[in-house]
């Protein structure tokens, strides 16, 4: 292993504060993961890639974006490794290093949610969905569903906003990076 490889692994350990070097590669995590079918390497594979320092493979993998943080893996893991926290850290590192992101839809969705919180202090679902669709240049999928939800008043036209938007936007300025 080269030093760059080692350095990457160390940086990830430091970033997430989770010692995934304890991983036994027993596959318990992968066998229960609800999105494993859509993944390329699977949760334990992601850990393996980090251990071997394959930074590009792991940072460009769809797996880190597909993980929904459901903790199914962590309760199955005999070593109680917090895989979602590792995935959180890998996503952040991928963004900071401008890695090529193959799940742009998921990233765009997260960005729209955060923009909404920045604007209102809360999420405005209708606007998030519309802006997401525009960003994706995909205006028509789920159109029926959107209309149905509007008819059931599940999507409010106007946002609910907090009074003290200032303190929230201050957080965004400080931490959005």
């Amino acid at each position: 292993m080269t030093t760059t490889h080692k350095r990457f692994c160390q940086a990830v350990v430091e970033r997430c504060g989770e010692n995934f070097q304890r991983c036994l590669h027993c596959l318990s995590c992968a066998s229960g993961c609800p999105v494993v079918a859509a993944m390329t390497y699977r949760p334990n594979g992601v850990i393996r890639l980090v251990q071997y320092g394959f930074s590009q493979e792991v940072l460009e993998s769809p797996d880190i974006w597909l993980c929904v943080g459901c903790n199914t893996c962590t309760i199955a893991c005999p070593m109680a490794i917090d895989i979602p926290v590792l995935m959180d850290a890998l996503r952040e590192i991928a963004l900071e290093n401008r890695a090529k992101i193959n799940e742009t839809g998921i990233l765009n969705f997260h960005k729209e949610v955060l923009d909404s919180i920045q604007r209102y202090g809360r999420t405005h679902k209708l606007e998030i969905m519309m802006r997401y669709k525009v960003r994706q240049r995909d205006l028509f999928s789920d159109m029926d569903l959107g209309l149905k939800m509007m008819a059931k008043r599940k999507l409010d036209l106007l946002p609910s906003r907090i009074a003290d938007t200032k303190s929230v936007s201050k957080l965004f300025k400080e931490f959005k990076g």
Binding site: P34, V35, A37, A38, L66, V68, G69, C70, N71, T72, T74, I75, A80, I81, D82, V85, D88, A89, R91, E92, L95, E103, G105, I106, L107, N108, F109, H110, K111, V113, L114, I117, G121, R122, T123, K125, M129, Y132, S141, D142, L145, K148, M149, K152, R153, K154, L155, D156, S160, I162, A163, D164, S167, V168, L171, F172, E174, F175, K176, G177
Partner: protein
Amino acid sequence: MTPMLREMQEISYFPGCSLATSAKENNQSLKEVCAHIGFNLVDLQDWNCCGSSSAHSINSELAFHLACRNLSLAPAGRPLLVACPSCSTRLRMAQHRLHTVPEAREAYELRWGRPVDPDLKIIHFFELIQSRGPFGRQPVDALNGLKFAPYYGCMLAQPPALRYERSYHGLMEKMLGAFGAQAVSWPYPARCCGTFLSVARPEVVSPMIDTIMRGALEAGAECLVTACAMCHLNLEIRCNLKNRLPTFHFSELLAIAYRTPIQKSWFAKHLVDPMPLLKERRLVA
């Protein structure tokens, strides 16, 4: 039926974005049930979004501070009820960090101008229900044999840092069973619903939801019961099977069981109409 006679206890309440908007029926039925068993829910003044899955997915520092702002708003001396299981995990994780990392505590105190409340209890709806113990003179057949698949989704799976917190395993079965509903035994009570992937990758989520729905059908359930608005929505919008069971919020069935004023408007908000089933079981007029 009038609420049981006892002094109302005040509880701070964090509804979260879903219950405040897309799942109002969940919010209203939850408040009805709480009032009925003697809890007055007082909205946390000016609460903000907990950061949802998106903040911790791409910016965990921001997620931490968004959660902290909410904690800083909680008045002393009352527990904080968090309706949504995901919001609850976010707020609990932030609290855990405040309790275990002195620097985080200091930064919090500096930013929000108040000390961390060491006694603030973050509780789930389930705990309120449980704290009232056996359910007084409720009719034991109030739910008239309704066969349900208890669906907890990921709420039973806590991150390792929170592993010593209370688990709610079996509570829906116990409570609704006490009112004469029948829980079916089925394989997917704790299978993840796919959460936010439902927006960007619906084709990944639909097979997950179809599996859950098929499991409930094959076990002989007439409906699913959830305690999470996100699970509820995904079960309703991402199921591709022809035969779909209706899904109830746990609080809606409790409201029926307690015979609190039931509003048909709750059920009108469902995308899979539960009214035929409720009528068949004679649970609504």
